[in-house]
């Protein structure tokens, strides 16, 4: 790689954005190298998580053929927690094997699969290659420096994740702002496949996704999550970073997960588990209004590096946007294969296509979501109010009396504040 020969494209980061990009480029005959700082693809990557498949049918259908999905999600639930009680909205659907709309993945396996597929198309995916800086020449990016060696390319794709030091070096982002980031902490716990299927009432190959709001995060913006994999469960919490200051001195993230796992509505689901991995990762949750410029001539940002994550409260999407952006960047580069891949025109083409694609369209449509989801009432006021209201409806006191429905509602209205609740509901409906 150091013989001075110029590649068409160097992709920085073997995650799902970078590998989808490399696969598309290499399939169309360009010379591509992917520099990954970990030993292998996926070594530094973490997801909650699930991948939404429908948006990728056209863009990545071929690449995802035979991908190692853990389970197809057929059961969704949002759980409101308060103390030892909870209530939930749940949807069980039978989208099934033939038409899965989302599937759980584990990144070590999944990214390695993508790397192998890109390798089959003769992209060079190389581990232990940490990119330290950009090479700039004649007002554009002309390659990267890896361990003191020059790797020259006509265009560089920065798929270097949420911390993207390359975006920062290129001046595309000053620094990361805590209010635009979620801190996700996850445990991977082993459980037999048959046990998972029994406890979540799903068939082999099918799985469940659960989101928890309320005191799982001590009432701070964020939530708990649980996704079933083949023979393991991904369980964890996400908290908005700028809210961390409000947490108690002694209360660590690890304690938060431990308490979450001990909840009476969670513990029976995971009983007998074996913890095998503990991880943490940041999530760019600033949405449309926090998007950086998408590149400079010779450098295109994709995936988390470009801040392409959409959290609407009911959907949390990152990997599908990442893969889509990788393919869209590749197609823009391919448009200019006879000309200058590093030209400002190529960058403009990418910006325009991505902006007109579902990736940024959806983020724009939900641009108010980060603001609305920062509303502490969603986490602090509503879960207890709803749980307490339901609890009062299902209880009989020592005098032999139950609470009339009317009084239960009145009590809830008093706790949440009728007008404040109306305002919050109106805001959420605008999402």
């Amino acid at each position: 790689m150091s013989d001075g020969e110029e590649l068409d494209v160097v992709v920085v980061g073997a995650g799902c954005a970078g590998l989808a990009c490399a696969y598309e480029l290499a399939s169309n005959g360009l010379t591509v190298a992917v520099c990954e700082r970990g030993d292998v693809a996926g070594a530094k990557n973490l997801t909650g998580g699930r991948l939404y498949l429908e948006p990728l049918k056209d863009l990545c259908g071929d690449l995802l053929e035979g991908a190692p999905f853990e389970r197809t999600i057929v059961s969704e639930s949002i759980v409101l927690t308060h103390g030892d009680a909870s209530t939930n909205i749940r949807l069980d659907h039978a989208s099934g094997e033939d038409r899965p709309h989302s599937a759980t993945v584990l990144r070590a396996k999944f990214d390695q699969f993508l790397a192998d597929r890109a390798g089959e198309k003769e992209a060079f995916v190389m581990g232990e290659q940490r990119v330290d800086e950009l090479i700039r020449e004649d007002g554009k990016v002309a390659g990267v420096m890896v361990g003191g060696e020059e790797v020259r390319a006509k265009v560089v794709v920065a798929a270097d994740g949420v911390l993207s030091f390359l975006a920062r070096e290129a001046g595309l982002r000053k620094s990361r702002e805590p209010r635009h980031l979620g801190v996700g902490v996850k445990e991977l716990i082993k459980l037999d496949a048959s046990v998972i299927e029994e406890r979540f009432n799903v068939a082999p190959g099918q799985g469940a996704a659960r989101m928890y709001l309320g005191d799982v995060t001590d009432g701070l913006p964020g939530g708990g999550f649980l996704y079933t994999n083949k023979d393991s469960i991904s369980i964890g919490v996400v908290v908005q970073m700028d809210e961390l200051e409000q947490r108690g001195e002694e209360d660590t993230f690890s304690d938060l997960i431990t308490r979450f796992k001990e909840r009476p509505d969670v513990a029976p689901l995971i009983r007998g588990y074996e913890l095998v991995e503990y991880g943490a990762h940041l999530i760019p949750e600033g949405g449309f209004d926090a998007l950086p410029e998408l590149g400079i001539p010779g450098l295109l940002l994709v995936g988390d590096a470009a801040g392409l994550v959409l959290n609407t409260g009911n959907l949390l999407r990152g990997m599908d946007l990442a893969m889509a952006s990788g393919v869209i960047a590749a197609r823009s580069i391919l448009e200019f294969r006879e000309g200058d891949l590093g030209s400002p025109e190529c960058l403009e083409h990418y910006k325009k296509t991505l902006t007109n694609s579902f990736v940024i369209e959806e983020m724009r449509a939900h641009r108010k979501a980060p603001n609305i989801l920062s509303n502490e009432r969603i986490y602090k006021v509503y879960p207890p109010a709803v749980v307490d209201m339901l609890r009062s409806l299902f209880e009989v006191d020592e005098k032999g009396e139950g609470v009339p429905v009317k009084r239960a509602f009145k009590e809830m209205r008093r706790t949440v504040g009728t007008w404040a609740a109306m305002r919050d509901i109106m805001r959420i409906l605008k999402l």
């Binding site: 660590t252 095998v276 991995e277 503990y278 940041l282």
Partner: protein, 91 residues
């Protein structure tokens, strides 16, 4: 289960040299010491004898929270050298 015990389950190769360097002068002035609560791996602590904030890089999950959240920009953080640091076996 303590966070140290959880970290001990991970596949990780710690470098002798830390990839996290603190600006001690800034840390002395710091009132929040938010890094201690924010680090998901619990790597930050106060050295009792000196009351200084210290960080033990071994076990780092490479999330970058400390670097971003530090109000005084006192955390110099880079990716560990190739071949070192966390290697997620599942992710």
């Amino acid at each position: 289960m303590k966070v140290e015990e959880k970290l001990a389950l991970n596949a990780i190769k710690n470098h002798d040299e830390s990839h996290i360097v603190l600006d001690e002068e800034a840390c002395v002035r710091c009132e929040t010491r938010i890094c201690i609560r924010a680090c998901p791996a619990g790597l930050y602590s106060v050295e009792p004898a000196t009351n200084k904030v210290i960080v033990d890089h071994s076990g780092c999950l490479e999330c970058g929270t400390c670097m971003v959240i530090c109000p005084l920009d006192a955390v110099t953080w880079r990716y560990p050298d190739p071949g070192y640091g966390i290697r997620y076996r599942h992710g």
